[in-house]
Symmetry: C2
């Protein structure tokens, strides 16, 4: 599973950084996660194929997380989209979209379904290849985090068997599908002996915007990759508490508490031209931390060292 950052800034655009948006890719499926102003242009800039976007998830109704949504929806229409588009967002989002489409007299060529996010942990989509969940964050207005889980239903073929018996691609496919294989010399390789069980789901957890909240740990426990907002550094902890945002240190503390594997920082305050203080602060508490940078892609599987 991969996450491409389209925007990593908070509130007002600055330092060539843009409001929040990300593309999450699971196998050949792509999802848009928040949709700040300019998201459709950022998709062009970073060669994200807009037609590939299946569904959209909006965390909350502050502008820096959804002012790009009407543009994405109407551009889909201009570009001839026909597949249905499902949007998952807070109460009121449907009213905004309906009003804008009605006043602009825009007849959509595709089915638009807006789903209202509910309190508590909620399974939004159950698919053979993935699950997507929402859970509440604590911010100034109703806000949700999301969990993207890539599911693996097929076992892995043990490499030693491939090498020893010279298994073909077709043999490997059969073994993964649970079929035993008969070799040209008559020997039988059983799926039972030659495979290991499918790996556990890969999990990407997204928390933006939120105050530091230990209770989030239960939802994101063990995630392979956690994106957690880090609007401020610790010297601005008062400001973070007042505006219901987090510091980089708090993001790192939650990452450690929840036992996640990697932490990705983002939603930076415009006061930071240089982001290294945020990375440094978080890295001391949780070494496996990276800054999210626009245009870059991060994997739930960390690069091998």
């Amino acid at each position: 599973m991969e996450v491409t950052i389209l925007g990593n800034n908070s509130a007002v655009p600055a330092h060539h950084r843009h409001p929040t948006s990300q593309v999450v890719k699971i196998k050949h499926y792509a999802f848009l996660l928040d949709c700040g102003e300019g998201t459709q242009m950022r998709m062009i800039d970073f060669s994200v194929r807009r037609s590939k976007i299946q569904h959209i998830f909006i965390s909350h109704l502050h502008g820096d997380h959804f002012f790009g949504l009407p543009g994405v929806v109407t551009s889909f229409n201009h570009m001839g989209r026909q597949e249905p588009l499902h949007i998952y967002g807070p109460h009121g989002l449907k009213d905004i979209l309906d009003l804008i489409l009605q006043l602009g007299d825009v007849p959509l060529q595709f089915e638009l379904v807006v789903h209202e996010l509910q309190p508590g942990l909620q399974l939004l989509i159950q698919h053979a290849d993935y699950e997507i969940w929402s859970f509440p964050l604590q911010h100034r207005i109703p806000t949700w985090g999301f969990l993207f889980k890539e599911l693996f239903s097929r076992p892995n073929v043990i490499k030693a068997y491939i090498d020893e018996f010279g298994l073909s691609i077709a043999n490997i496919k059969d073994l993964k599908a649970g079929l035993d294989v008969v070799l040209p010399d008559g020997r039988v390789i059983t799926t039972r002996e030659a495979t290991t069980p499918p790996p556990p789901a890969q999990v990407y957890a997204y928390c933006s915007d939120t105050v530091f909240d230990e209770s989030l740990a239960e939802h994101i426990r063990g995630a392979d990759l956690l994106y957690h907002e880090s609007t401020f550094t610790e010297d601005l902890a008062d400001k973070a508490a007042m505006t219901k945002h987090s510091t980089a240190a708090q993001a790192a503390r939650l990452a450690a508490l929840a036992g996640v594997k990697q932490l990705l920082l983002g939603h930076y305050s415009s006061r930071f031209g240089d982001l290294s203080p945020l990375l440094e602060e978080a890295g001391k508490l949780f070494p496996n931390t990276q800054l999210s940078i626009e245009g870059q892609t991060y994997s739930t599987v960390p690069p091998k060292k």
Copy 2:
């Protein structure tokens, strides 16, 4: 009076061109004219001081003309704006802004007044230095054009007098204010003899989006600079008529018919990577034509040859 182009494309962003927005400057006053998605970023890109924007004018409620407005309004708030902001736009715009501000729970720190545009020619603002008018265009939904008039109330001092009598800056100021001047040697220079009447108003006319409509000529007659949409070339006149847009040739025909001094093309269809066919087509019918290019500034006073 000057016009800086922030966005010159129609509908879907393409070829690094952005949806419609312009900054009109009259003396030290600045106005935003339409506000497509990304306008606030374009203002940063082109070093337009956002705090200088006095009022905003929205021609119609298609997204490529106003999806950047909520971002501009909320960013003004983040940046501590205190002066009132007046927005002039179609019926329904206030509902959209109110709903977005209410759902985002954004308490504005400044007074926001949304004025609803009315049928017919309407004087929106009467100021000692300028007038701003709206008039109806013909498009798929209610749409307005705008006239910006720079008024000159003070006479010009004749250059020969300045040279002959060695008039000081203070002398010139007095003469422009209607006061006679007594020279050190006792001679009196009267404002009547040494000045010519103030020049006529400079007029910028803005027509986007509209079908070719001869009756527009009455509103824009003699304008110093006309921006007229030219979404298509003449070979796509059917498509222009169907979508209620204009061709470059039609823009040129209206410019000639209305006896304007300069024509500025814009609102280009995404099918044009190269814009020269549009310029060529219009230039044949109305030689004093320019392409509007993002980041460039155009004056109502043409450059001296």
